[in-house]
C-alpha cells in the first residue's frame, strides 16, 4: 500500500529548502559588509488541501572577528497529509523532515566569499548540498554583483506499510543530482531606490518522478471506465529563471516594492510571477507590511489530467504542480520592535506575526475524488471520468517569529 506522494514534489521540497537555507545563510546584499549578528526562532503552520505542516526553524548568525561570519540553521517540518493525490490513490501519512545547515562568509576588501553545506533527512528522501558564492561591491558601492553555485546529491526511497510499520521498500532506491548556477546584480538607482536582477539555471539528472503518484487513463477507449498506472518522467530537466526587483522609499517613512519573474524549462512549463509589497512603520515600535503575489503557469508537455489509454506516451504525468493554473497569495505582517534595558547586549528584539491566504485555481486538474473516490471508497454516484469539477486549493499560512539582534 502506498503511504505517501513524493517524487518531483519531494525533490522540489528538498531542493527549495536547501536553496532556501543557502539563501538565508548567504545573504549579504552589500558584499563589502558582513551580515549583522542575529538569532531568529520561527514557528509556522500551513493548512490547506488536506495537508497540515507545522514546525520550528532556528537561524543563528554570529561574526568571528571582523572578517568572518558563521550561520547555522536547524529546521523541522512535521507533515500530516491527506492531499487529493493521497486521497485518490494512496493512504494518509505522517512524516517528519529535519534539516541542518552551516555556512561561513569571508569578507575580503569589497568582496564576500561564502561556502556552506546543507543536510536534509526524511523517511524516504535524503539530500546533501554544497553551495558557494562570491559577491563584490563596485562603482562606489552602488553596484553589487554575485555569482553562486549549488550542487546536490539526493537519494530517493519508497516507503511501504508492513504490519502497520513504515519501512523502506528494499527493492527500490534511486538517485537524483542537481546543479544550480546563478548570477545577480543589485544596483542603487537613486537615494531612495534600489533595483536587483537575478538569473538562475538549474539542471537535474536522475529519478525525477514520484515513486507513488499515479496517472489515470481510459480503459480500452471507454469514456466511462478509468484505471491508473505509475507516472513516467524524463530523467533530466533544465530550467531558466530571471527575476527583477525594485524597492522605493516613499516621501514619508514607508517603502513599496515589486517583483517579476519569468520561468521556462525543458519540460514545457512557462511561469510568470508578480509580487507587490508595502511596508509602513507606525510609531517607534510597530512595523506593518502588506503583500500580494500572483503566479500563473502553463502545463508540462507530458501532463494530462486523464490519458486516452494506458502507456499512451513515453512520458506521462499527473502532478498538479505541472498542470495549468494560477494562484494568488495575500498576506499581512505585524512586527513589534523592543529593547530590554536589563540586556544591554541585545541591540534590538522583534516579535512578528504573519498571516497569508493562498488560493490556487487549476485549469486542467480535475477533482478525481468524484470518480475515483476517497481512500479506496467509491463515491455513491460517481461522475464520468474527465467531467469532474476542476480542483481548487485554499490554504492558511501562519508564522510567528522572534528575532534578536546583537
Amino acid at each position: 500500500m502506498k503511504a505517501k506522494q513524493t517524487g518531483l514534489a519531494r525533490f522540489v521540497i528538498t531542493f527549495c529548502a536547501v536553496a532556501g537555507a543557502a539563501g538565508s545563510l548567504v545573504s549579504p546584499a552589500n558584499a563589502g559588509v558582513l551580515p549583522e549578528d542575529r538569532a531568529d526562532l520561527l514557528y509556522f503552520r500551513y493548512d490547506g488541501g488536506g495537508v497540515e505542516i507545522t514546525g520550528p526553524s532556528v537561524l543563528v548568525r554570529k561574526s568571528i572577528g571582523e572578517h568572518v561570519s558563521v550561520a547555522a540553521n536547524y529546521y523541522i517540518d512535521m507533515v500530516s497529509s491527506a492531499s487529493i493525490d493521497v486521497e485518490t490513490t494512496a493512504s494518509p501519512y505522517e512524516d517528519e523532515r529535519t534539516q541542518g545547515s552551516l555556512s561561513m562568509d569571508f569578507l575580503h576588501g569589497k568582496s564576500t566569499y561564502s561556502i556552506g553545506y546543507v543536510n536534509s533527512d526524511e523517511s524516504d528522501y535524503a539530500a546533501k548540498t554544497l553551495f558557494g558564492s562570491v559577491s563584490h561591491d563596485m562603482f562606489g558601492d552602488l553596484t553589487t554583483i554575485s555569482f553562486g553555485y549549488k550542487e546536490g546529491e539526493n537519494e530517493v526511497f519508497r516507503n511501504l506499510i508492513v504490519d502497520g510499520v513504515k519501512i523502506n521498500d528494499p527493492a527500490f532506491a534511486e538517485e537524483m543530482n542537481s546543479k544550480s548556477f546563478s548570477v545577480s546584480v543589485s544596483q542603487i538607482i537613486t537615494k531612495s531606490m534600489i533595483l536587483s536582477g537575478q538569473y538562475e539555471v538549474i539542471t537535474d539528472e536522475g529519478f525525477l518522478r514520484s515513486p507513488y503518484r499515479q496517472v489515470r487513463f481510459f480503459v480500452n477507449g471507454d469514456p466511462f471506465t478509468q484505471d491508473t498506472q505509475p507516472e513516467v518522467y524524463p530523467n533530466t530537466r533544465s530550467s531558466n529563471a530571471a527575476s527583477f526587483r525594485a524597492k522605493y522609499f516613499l516621501p514619508y517613512r514607508a517603502a513599496i516594492d515589486g517583483m517579476y519573474r519569468f520561468y521556462t524549462d525543458t519540460w514545457g512549463v512557462v511561469g510568470h510571477t508578480g509580487e507587490l509589497g508595502y511596508v509602513h512603520p507606525l510609531g517607534s515600535h510597530w512595523i506593518f507590511e502588506a503583500r500580494g503575489r500572483y503566479y500563473t503557469q502553463s502545463k508540462a508537455d507530458f501532463y494530462e489530467d486523464i490519458f486516452p489509454r494506458a502507456d499512451y506516451a513515453n512520458f506521462m504525468a499527473r502532478d498538479k504542480e505541472l498542470a495549468t493554473y494560477d494562484a494568488f497569495t495575500g498576506g499581512l505582517t505585524a512586527t513589534y520592535e523592543f529593547k530590554i534595558d536589563r540586556f544591554p547586549w541585545l541591540a534590538k528584539g522583534a516579535l512578528s506575526v504573519r498571516y497569508d491566504y493562498m488560493t490556487v485555481n487549476y485549469d486542467d486538474f480535475r477533482d478525481a475524488r468524484f470518480s475515483l473516490g476517497s481512500f479506496g471508497n467509491l463515491p455513491e454516484d460517481p461522475l464520468q471520468p474527465g467531467t469532474e469539477p476542476l480542483y481548487k486549493l485554499n490554504a492558511n499560512i501562519m508564522q510567528l517569529y522572534i528575532s534578536a539582534y546583537f
Binding site: 527549495c16 500551513y46 526553524s57 517540518d77 511596508v279 505582517t333 528575532s403
Partner: protein
C-alpha cells in the same frame, strides 16, 4: 582577428567607463537606503519559509532572490 579586435575594443570601452564612473549617490545620501524597511529580506527565516511553500507547489523554481527554507509538501 576581428574577434580579438572586438574584445580589445570592448575592454577598452569598459575600462574607460569604469574609471570615469562617479558614485551618483554619495554615502552620506544613503540614509533612506540604509533604513531596515528597505531590505529585500527583512526577516530571512520567514521569507525563506514562504518562498519554499510557493516553490514546492509551483512548477517554477530559482531566481527567487530571498531564498526558500521552511517546509512544503504535496
Amino acid at each position: 582577428m576581428r574577434i580579438r579586435g572586438l574584445i580589445m575594443m570592448t575592454l577598452a570601452v569598459l575600462s574607460a567607463g569604469c574609471s570615469s564612473i562617479e558614485p551618483w549617490v554619495k554615502p552620506y545620501d544613503r540614509e533612506n537606503l540604509a533604513d531596515p524597511i528597505m531590505s529585500f529580506t527583512r526577516a530571512p527565516i520567514s521569507q525563506d519559509f514562504l518562498d519554499h511553500v510557493f516553490e514546492s507547489r509551483e512548477g517554477s523554481r530559482g531566481a527567487s532572490g530571498g531564498g526558500g527554507g521552511g517546509c512544503g509538501c504535496n
